[in-house]
Amino acid sequence: MTTADQFNVHYLKKHYAKRQVLDEVTFSLQAGQTHLLSGDNGAGKTTLLRILAGLEKPDSIQIDLGMGPLNWRHVKKTLQQHALYLHQHPYMFDGTVSYNLGYAIGVKLTKQERQRQIDKALEWADLKQLSQAPAKSLSGGEKQRVSLARAWLKRPSILLLDEPTSNLDQESRHRTLSLLEAFKSDGTAMLLASHDPMHFPSLIDQHLRLDQGKLIRIDDQNPIEFDQTHPNFRSTA
């Protein structure tokens, strides 16, 4: 977080060719809150997440650092220090699950300390029995848990999630949701892109919608409507 519990983004702009994907987007993320980012396919959800992760350069952006305007290099560095982006389909490095978790720890710790942290992450994500399995051969749900465990080891202030439960079966979805709830309890701000808010009824604190490059906040006057008959609603609420 750039301040104690709030991260503010102003005037975020991005265009591709002649299309303005993000048009002066301004919003805040709060610690311990989950912000749902919805929008149609191609609305710019993934672009927004990738810019906040420092993986893509915007046309313009301002973030609150209390030190005046900064160039993209500094903004990118700050974003990479605070935010962690999880792909829709997580990438697993060639190696075991333990190797993948160890990657998030860095290279400065002793071997024993690294192993201790890996063990804790394996336990956290219920992956102990898969610790020596080749990560590339895991199922989609297991890969998602490994990627969340890697994120848990990094302890980011902001977690940027791109359709984290798409293509997952019901059981994997529930396990992913419970891990995301653990992040929320730990005070992590989450920005979660999904075209289907019904997948995360118990997690969401604020609903932001991208429409033709503009970010619309769906608040009490314009509430998100959950379908209470949806199977996810009943099982996770």
Partner: protein, 244 residues
């Protein structure tokens, strides 16, 4: 009475068999001159690959992962360099290194260093082209995942190299196979000096021109065995590099 059909000339067959047997004897009896030539070949080509690989793979990475003006032109130039004959590379370096050339003061002509330079020039475009293909085939999410997990650009680069290691190993083997068997640049830049710059291909050329086929065939067998071994490894690594 029909005329009898011409009979195959068995003298040539006998001659080839005798020469091949003599070649095998030379090879396995540990003939010091022969093995010295083999050692020079491996040393020169090994050093050339070691020196050429880091910058070539870095260029391959930049071409695969960064967009910048002139990138396509660089790829086209590199592809063109792939098809330049070894003798042309040798001639160009010969002019540069000859006494009247701009680098004549270095006095490198007819040394192993000159041969290494020639082989670097030959290996570089192969390493860039094959390295570029291998790195481009590597999933872009690997780089992004490494960076978002806090890896420095250098650590992320090493990670990408590790992910694409089978394709990169294939590039190294292909480049090594190409330079250890080339004769044009080595002949022009090394001068084929016995005990110093005579390597396998230049020795084969010399011995064949003298009519001494046994040593030529023995050295040819070494190249053949090497080519087979490199290809076996190449198949192995390229197979492993395929996505599951």
């Amino acid at each position: 009475m029909p005329e009898s059909l011409p009979q195959p000339n068995t003298d040539h067959m006998d001659s080839l068999t005798t020469t091949t047997l003599a070649a095998l004897e030379l090879l396995f009896s540990g003939n010091p001159e022969l093995w010295e030539i083999i050692a020079i070949s491996f040393r020169v080509s090994g050093v050339a690959i070691l020196v050429a690989s880091p910058p070539a793979l870095l260029v391959a990475f930049i071409l695969a992962y960064y967009q910048f003006p002139g990138r396509r032109l660089l790829i086209s130039i590199n592809s063109t360099l792939l098809s330049v004959p070894a003798v042309v590379v040798g001639l160009t370096l010969f002019i540069l290194l000859s006494r009247q050339g701009p680098l004549g003061e270095w006095k490198l002509l007819f040394t192993q260093t000159a041969m290494v330079l020639g082989q670097i020039a030959l290996a570089f475009p192969i390493l860039v082209a094959m390295g570029h293909s291998a790195l481009q085939a590597c999933d872009r999410r690997a780089w992004e995942t490494a960076r978002t997990l806090g890896a420095t650009p250098l650590r992320a680069l090493i990670t990408i190299m590790r992910e694409a290691r089978f394709g990169l190993m294939a590039a190294l083997l292909a480049a090594f196979g190409r330079i250890i068997a080339e004769v044009g640049a080595s002949m022009m830049l090394g001068g084929n000096i016995l005990h110093y710059t005579r390597n396998i291909p230049t020795a084969i050329a010399l011995e064949s021109s003298k009519g001494e086929f046994a040593q030529g065939i023995a050295l040819g067998l070494v190249l053949l065995i090497l080519a087979f071994t490199l290809n076996a490894f190449l198949q192995h690594f390229q197979g492993k590099g395929q996505p599951a």
